[in-house]
Symmetry: C2
Subunit: 569 residues, 2 copies
């Protein structure tokens, strides 16, 4: 067997070969790796970075987007984004000519395919590096479309999303590199062995459709966008109609880098739309779309899964779930309560990873501050939330703004839930006044205590600042509920607090049974809501909340195919 | 970062650690590798092996299958296999109690999961080794269910299927091993770094359903069976009702090895059925079935794909296609014709990889024996087929027996196709008399010449001993037809004959465009129908004939999921 070395060359491959080595290794070892500092500090990014980024964001407002975002437009201008903080963005984007755009994307594929995995990966890294340079602009855009507080919008929308992009690039790259480009195969035979040269050619599936969400427009879209690109596909990026700008900037940067690198910018195009236009469905039904990635509600997600299967398209979805916490005991009550309060409060619980269902046994919780009854524990958690979010000016930097009326409705529903479920409102969802944006609707988390028997109440996702404290007969029942409800309804995250190794081991079993990742005894600066690129998988693909994970082999391996040609030599 | 070594131990892991190393390396390099000699010669297998195997096969006949094949039976006995060579097999198999069987399979999963990838792989290798010991018995069973000639039934049903099983084991094993069992993750922070231990646990999806086919009961089922098992799943094996015995023997061996190795045999169970019982559909609709693998007709395959997607099951299908050959020119006419004649004749074209559509330009073919017109080339190919299959006694060892009435109908349809399509019957499908089995219906390949315009005739699969010689305006058009018809209708194989490097390069482009593997200028003992485990992928997953390939990363990576648990250390 002889394998030939990759033959592709490109200036960007020379530039980024070192990065490709780093990210291959980081993925292999699942060790800590970050290319992009997550602190928006001027010491890191320079004294003018924040102001420059804010100005760049402001420059988009009340204009038609200046750079080219599509390769074929229908001539209309679309977009009606309104910031959850109040202001109308007033940005207009070119409408997509679907036929022309898909034709252009198909035309761009052969050269992208023939560039090979390493060149594609290097071009993708360059795109991410250039996105990084616009992190403050993107941070403002994410803040004013998702309602995230600024620091979070900067971090999750900028560096953390960029690291997840690199992770997807690494995953796609190494998966392609597992197949040699060419081998000489030699089969023993009577007399001379039979020798054949076999060339293995990586071929993308075609055009990917990435359907973004309102709350994490970049973070949830980048893994799919870069997984598609690195494996030789083109991408149509369809943002949520309320969160177009962050992905428009992304598409602009990608197209610019592609052009500069000698590729057709039609490989990445924006499919912006007005509210209610239904463009995702139109695109998802096109035979040219070979891969669909979706983050959003379960109803449309389920439709996509079936419609995709009906015509052989791959569909990766992240939908909804019941993120679950089991509290058994702790030797650091203050740390546990502080950590839980922050997880509940961050972005008002509007994260797909925010906890919703907190199981506590009727017998209460043993702690380093003594035994707490169920109700005492509930009240202590309420106090921790109040302490964290009691000061309006400070609270808004954690809570952000509510993104839509559904979330606001959920925040207002605690009293009626408690009445309906014969439970107790442990903490009302407090209305917070934003010192800078008086139109923003800001809500602190509320808590309702209910009995474990009331699955009718707590086994539906109640998105936003609402947590359920669920009284069980024992920690054993709490863990059984974790396994059962996650298996049936899905979850992106789970965590457990216990000082008992046997309980922790049982929790690991329950998490494996339910198919959800488990965090244990988080009391410091790591939160159950957060996952680290290259190390923590986001989602598992093993429960109904998501059929894939960022970014394992299964997320990338089927986005390309291998075409062999063989001949005697 | 520290990664811990795998901690699992098992006697079979000690026994097969060397084999696991060999197959990991063979898959990585895609070099020649075979553990099981494919020649049924007594010099390889011993003087009595053939007779012993035949006797073991005969011992099954007209009995209830002696060994236990299910973990829960409904008390009925099913099975009505009749050999394509004539004899009734008369074997009866226990009917499956679906509820009980799936419950038993689920109960067997935790221990299988906790055994870890290496132990599972070693147990799987032991199963394959033990299947190998029964290759002659299995060869007879494959012959008398599929209609394959004996040597082919031995090779494809025995050693070659076993090598494909090893390939799937290797692919599944290395994909699981890419994820470390445990790492310590260390994030720089002000003061002390944040350190977490992260454990990654491999969890199978649950229960796989493998739906076998009539023509290659073992070869087409083994990749899925062993991919499921090695990645921690249980398997229900649902054979074609006409080809149960080869998979019953397989299930018996698997259950025996599992029991001996300390695992619950419920991990592998047989779902035998009578003709028309519809058990595949019943099983495919069960929520416990997480993975479906299917080889068979496109209608049921498409239903499975949609039904699976509707409830989140993975579905891998191999359906039907138009295997395609383009003849441009050759410097070894005799070798090319001999190779083509054999590919058309082997098992009467009843291989999913057998050629059907042979494109030749109207201007004819340049050869080392001078220029041949389209019709001259067609007649030369007919002569080559006649020469190969002219002697009945020798012919049956290549042709085998026709497997069903559909194939026989296709063989009888040449005259009407030619009339309908204004074409020419180049060669009638000759009726061959089997010297040993007078009830066998044996047919040699027939050839019809038609114009390229008659896509209505040649773009449907005509399974069995029928080849179309399709007259095009040029080799360029031939290659365009290859790309277009394969892209639209699918194909498992393609090949090209040309002495012109530019034509070969264009053929590689057409194959990449259509999404099919290409063989070039086969004139010796390698045939387009045949693929080598560990080196050639079977199918590409890039055209409608199959949505997966044996056995790439995409075939295995999604059969298991990774569940993380993390904690501060």
């Amino acid at each position: 067997m002889t394998a030939t070395a990759p033959t592709s060359t490109h200036a960007l491959l020379d530039k980024h070969a070192g990065v490709l080595d780093e990210i291959r290794e980081a993925l292999r070892t699942r060790s800590w790796y970050s290319r992009y500092p997550e602190s928006p500090s001027p010491r890191v990014y320079g004294e003018t970075a924040a102001a420059d980024g804010a100005a760049a964001f402001e420059a988009h407002r009340n204009t038609r987007y200046a750079a080219e975002l599509v390769s074929a437009t229908d001539g209309r201008w679309v977009g009606g984004e309104v910031s959850p903080y109040g202001p109308t963005l007033g940005v207009e984007y070119p409408g997509l000519d679907v036929d022309g755009a898909l034709r252009a994307a198909r035309g761009a594929l052969p050269a992208w395919r023939d560039a090979g995995p390493q060149v594609r990966a290097a071009v993708c890294v360059e795109i991410v590096d250039r996105l990084h340079q616009r992190s403050f602009e993107i941070g403002n855009a994410v803040m004013h479309t998702s309602g995230q507080p600024f620091v979070m919008a900067f971090q999750a929308g900028g560096p953390q999303a960029q690291d997840r992009a690199l992770e997807a690039i690494a995953a796609g790259l190494v998966e392609q590199e597992r197949v040699p480009e060419s081998v000489v195969w030699e089969r023993p035979a009577k007399g001379e062995p039979i020798r054949m040269q076999k060339d293995y050619r990586i071929v993308g599936r075609g055009i990917g459709l990435v359907i973004g969400c309102n709350t994490f427009p970049t973070w949830n879209a980048y893994p799919a966008i870069f997984a598609d690109l690195v494996t030789g596909n083109a991408v149509v990026v369809k943002p949520h109609p309320h969160a177009i700008l962050p992905l428009a900037i992304t598409v602009e940067v990608a197209r610019t880098v592609l052009s500069e690198a000698g590729f057709d910018p039609a490989l990445v195009q924006l499919a912006a739309e007005n509210d209610g236009q239904g463009l995702a469905k139109v695109l998802a039904e096109r035979s040219e779309i070979a891969i669909i990635d979706y983050t959003g509600g379960p109803t449309f997600g389920a439709w996509l899964e079936q419609a995709g299967a009906a015509r052989g398209a791959l569909v990766y979805t992240e939908k909804a779930g019941l993120n679950t916490i089991v509290v058994d005991s702790t030797d650091d009550l203050k740390g546990a309560l502080g950590n839980l309060a922050f997880s509940l409060s961050l972005y008002s619980g509007q994260m797909c990873t925010a906890p919703q269902n907190i199981y506590v046994a009727d017998s209460g919780v043993d702690t380093n501050e003594g035994h707490l009854s169920f109700d005492e524990f509930a009240d202590r958690l309420a106090t921790a939330v109040q302490r964290l979010t009691g000061d309006d000016a400070k609270a808004v930097e954690i809570l952000g703004a509510t993104v839509n009326d559904k979330v606001r409705g959920n925040a207002d529903s605690l009293e009626s839930i408690a009445t309906e479920a014969e439970g107790r409102v442990v903490l009302e969802s407090r209305r917070v006044t934003h010192p800078a944006y008086d139109q923003a609707v800001v809500r602190a988390p509320g808590l309702v205590a209910v009995d474990v028997s009331r699955e009718d109440v707590y086994t539906e996702e109640c998105f936003g600042p609402v947590g359920f404290l669920i009284r069980t007969s024992s920690t054993e029942q709490s863990l059984a509920q974790l396994a059962d409800t996650v298996h049936e309804h899905g979850a992106m995250t789970a965590s457990v607090y216990s000082t008992d190794e046997a309980v922790l081991e049982a929790a690991r079993e329950a998490a494996a049974e339910g198919g959800v990742a488990l965090s244990e005894n988080l009391t410091g600066q790591i939160f159950v809501n957060q996952t680290a690129a290259f190390s923590d998988l986001h989602g598992t693909g093993a429960n109904p909340a998501a059929n894939a994970a960022y970014a394992d082999a299964a997320f990338v391996a089927n986005r390309f195919r291998v075409i062999t040609s063989r001949r005697h030599v």
